[in-house]
């Protein structure tokens, strides 16, 4: 599957295209299939996202999992500061990245 990701213009936070909007949670991301480029251009033009790009991901029971470790680190937060990730209370969250 293909995901569309970028950063929020104001906060810089990592965001994921959900099919109709942007979310900071990768599990809400939608498969953009072959439409990634056109969505990217529309959303960038509408200034709803900064520096968007398309990545490969795998569909899992827990939701989309980016194929590359860099995108998984982006999605969750720094592996060395679990307290600053999106799932600070989940001790196993780091396993999802690695």
């Amino acid at each position: 599957m293909k995901l569309l990701t970028g950063n929020d213009l104001k906060s810089g936070a990592v965001t994921w295209w959900t099919g109709s909007d942007w979310s900071i949670h990768v599990e809400h991301a939608a498969d953009v299939g072959e439409h990634g480029e056109s969505i990217l251009q529309a959303e960038e033009g509408a200034r709803r996202v900064n520096a968007p790009y398309i990545i490969d991901a795998v569909d899992t029971a827990e939701g989309p999992r980016p194929a590359h470790i860099k995108e998984r680190v982006r999605a969750l937060g720094p592996t060395v500061r679990p307290d600053l990730t999106l799932k600070p209370a989940d001790p196993d969250a780091g396993d999802w990245v690695i």
């Binding site: 810089g12 936070a13 900064n50």
Partner: protein, 543 residues
Amino acid sequence: MYSYDKYDQSIVDGRVAEFRDQVKRRLAGEITEDQFKPLRLMNGLYLQLHAYMLRVAIPYGTLDSRQMHKLADIARKYDRGYGHFTTRQNIQYNWIKLEDCPDLLDDLASVEMHAIQTSGNCIRNISSDQYAGAAADEVTDPRPWAELLRQWSSFHPEFSFLPRKFKIAVIASKEDRAAMRLHDIGIELTQKNGEIGARVFVGGGMGRTPMIAPEIGPFVKAEDLLSYIEACMRVYNRFGRRDNMYKARIKILVHEIGADEYRRQVEEEFAHVKKLGIDPPLAELERITEFFAPPEFAADADIKVDRSDPDFALWLDQNVKDHKQPGYAIVNISLKPIGGIPGDASADQMDVMAEIAKQYSFDELRVTHAQNIVLPHVAKKDLHTVWRALREAKLADANLDLISDIISCPGLDYCSLANARSIPVAQKIATRFADMDRQRDLGELKLKISGCINACGHHHAGHIGILGVDRKGVENYQLTFGGSGAEDVAIGKIIGPGFDEDGIVDAVEKATDVYRELREEGERFLDTYRRVGVTPFKEAIYG
């Protein structure tokens, strides 16, 4: 310390106002990201892996307590309660919001700080010896010269769009504590017939093509320094490659045309530049030097320090260095707790360091390129008090220059350029060697980790260097031996195939075992490696 005059302050304030307007226009959609990106980078604002990252300049690594307190305030107010001290003696904040950035820069400007020229193809923050003004072996204090260069290079119209970024270091000792020859220009102040002048080395650097800078100017007089550096820059600006960013650094130019030809061109250009009269009168250097006058040391401060507390004695032996003034010492604060993140300090820790500096170090702090902090002027009678205060703040790790005093770039945990994580490897190695007796038995061992070939973690200069690479989506770590950023400068060599995250820790341990087996009296790891060569290490590591 240097203090802004009305011109410095108005320049910085003016830049903040200008950037405030640029941010406003970006948020309003009046300019695109392509238009805005070079503007934010000129103000040190990157878009990193998780958020915007702001890099704040700390000129030649020198701070006072007011500035350190402000850095703590900024960490609390605009970031997530911490900052990361870098190998360029700067500080980075990892979680900055674009809309907050102008206010943040205003706060910085209120304490004579900024983020200008911490990015982009310009002359970056001038770095220097963290012991400047305190070291017994310096021929003069390098900071006034660094400040002169800072003023000359700030907003220099000719050098705002160089082929690539440009880094300058200034030292004034034979012992190189600033990796001087691994800079685009390295300056070693020296004395000849009673006159202070500069040895100028050009074309060093790390990155994907590491090179040691050759000497270009053997003795440049003080009154010629700016003209000479200007000539060095002009030759680079004219002939440095702009068609390939990987070959655009000055080291490539110097290497391709050769040091002799580069020197000839610099001298030719210098003859022209010198006539332009850009060198300030020596009185200006003297005026700047007055800002760096030695503090009023107490004449009767020399005491014998009570070493009866073994933990304190250990810290004294490892982290406290001789000062040129009897009765005083240089205190190194390690930002490398076992299992911690190299170079990170919490806002509370910054406040503690600022308070200690104010009370016990004539209000001065330094940031080191090894990502530690220095209190340059502590009276020996205060050392125990300082140590206790640092220990309370978890800042008294006695591991300076030992295997756990690891330089590490942010790596894939924060950096959008990285291919592999650096920090977890640093944490695992430090934890493996946590035992202080073991670390001290190994002695000086500089281990440096980079998460990509850009080498921000200085792995090329590590006695042991580790380079993280991406092998088909999996982190892999290459091992290099034999590097040094000191006066025995050398580029480390890759010893063989890479390892996974746990394998690299085992490999480092095997290397230290070989060292312990083969070392001769007084040899450091680096010395033994240089004497015996790579073979016994490879045999032990790869079997």
